[in-house]
């Protein structure tokens, strides 16, 4: 990150920002705005915004690229490549953090909404799979999605679309919308903690909620 010198005038701060940006030092806008007199901050923000719109992307050093790749937004982006569940691995943890809930608390509330109080231990592994992108989103029922939307106080569509979305264009959307047989959905045991080697007839209400589709 760029080290900034304490300065006051907007022109100096703007130039320091531009220089740091072009040098690939990753200046943070908020730090520069804080250095400006209160009456000049709006002007400085507008100047930096104008600059950023067209500013060239610097040639980052390998160290800087490593730092960028460890940023949460970027590292979660990378994890999406392998996700079977669209954007759930980024969306669900973010919604949970925003709601200031632990995973256990989410599961407890979801169980209550689904009328399955006391079954949290069965629901937890499935929710874990949703957060880690190891469950087929087409198998998760609308009731579960609506329950999570209620817990997180968001539009159910936000969760549904995030799960349906093929992160890589290689994943044809049709594959995410088609109905899966329970045999297909069972997958390898490690990926379906609760289903294991059960046959389709063994699916109980909770399995159906997470594997039976909409």
């Amino acid at each position: 990150m760029a080290t900034i010198v304490t300065m006051a005038s907007p022109e100096q701060l703007l130039s320091e920002f531009c220089d740091a940006w072009n040098a690939g030092e990753r200046p943070r806008v908020s730090e520069f705005l804080e250095q400006a007199p209160a009456g000049d901050r709006e002007e400085l923000a507008a100047l930096i915004r104008t600059f950023l719109e067209q500013a060239p992307t610097p040639d980052f050093s390998p160290e800087t690229l490593a730092a960028i790749s460890s940023e949460p937004a970027v590292s979660e982006l990378a994890s999406l490549i392998e996700s079977q569940s669209g954007f759930w691995p980024t969306l669900l943890p973010r919604l949970r953090r925003r709601s200031k809930l632990t995973r256990d608390q989410v599961v407890a509330q979801l169980a209550g909404l689904l009328g399955l109080k006391g079954k949290e231990a069965r629901i937890h592994p499935y929710y874990h799979q949703m957060e880690t992108g190891t469950i087929e989103p087409g198998g998760v029922s609308r009731r579960v999605l609506e329950g999570l939307a209620s817990v997180f106080k968001v539009d159910v569509r936000e969760i549904e679309e995030a799960g349906d979305f093929p992160v890589s264009p290689a994943g044809p959307k049709a594959a995410f919308f088609r109905h899966y047989s329970t045999h297909e959905l069972a997958g390898p045991p490690a990926m379906n903690l609760e289903l294991g080697a059960h046959s389709p007839g063994d699916l109980d209400e909770i399995d159906q909620l997470f594997l039976g589709g909409r």
Binding site: S9, P10, E11, L14, S15, C18, D19, N22, A23, R28, V29, S30, E42, A45, A46, L47, I48, R49, T50, F51, L52, E53, Q54, A55, P56, T57, P58, D59, S69, E71, A73, V74, E76, L77, A78, L80, I81, T90, L91, R94, R98, L113, L114, R142, E146, G147, A149, S150, K153, V154, D155, V156, R157, E158, A162, P166, V167, S168, P169, A170
Partner: protein, 246 residues
Amino acid sequence: MRSDHDLNAIPENRFDRLSQDELFRIVVDCRENTDPKRPRRAGAAWQMLIAKDIDRVKGIVETFRHPEAPEVRVEGSDVDDVVDSSYERLVKMLRTFKGISEGEYRAAMRTCVRFECMDHCREAMGHDMRRAGSLDERTKDDEGDERGRFDRDIAEQEKERVAEEEALTAGREQALLRQERVRTAIADLKNANRRRVVELTYAGASTEKIMAELDTTRDNVYQLRRRGLKDLGDILDGNHSDDGQP
């Protein structure tokens, strides 16, 4: 500049070494290819492209001011959250983005981030259209028939989704126009020194280099840069006040 052939030979785990332009060329070349490996390669290039723009995205979020209410902005504590949401939007954009130039990408990126900022501000102001509630909640439709609240919402949400998609498309077109206007706007800066400082700044030149090029002082470069970018912003926002004075 690498040829397309050379670019095609670069493995995905070396994409971090490519320029934005090269990454974008891979996206355009691979995104609609019938070979399943190629669209995946486009996805990897896209992700690197937007990853390298993380600071630009953050900066746009931090300096965002609502066009109709400049006092409305993204609070500091919400910036990371809005950046995360912007990234999801940017990843999704690959599926619908048909642009063939880096300028189009830049314009589309800016639109995505601005829309996310506006959505966030709308939510923060309590005007959120999103709904949440009990799964058993009942409501009546226009004909007075009782139905599940979420059943009713599906149709409304679909309308909202279509409207947002149309708005995003319009926003991208506007952003592209703005992008194209930037080139002419810089050329339109009446003051030659301000214009030169802006050009050199956008070319990546440091203050010292500009001082040497213009044979002037640091303070003067600071002033020229401030006034030049102010003029540029005014031209782009339709508040043209370039006085041509040094």
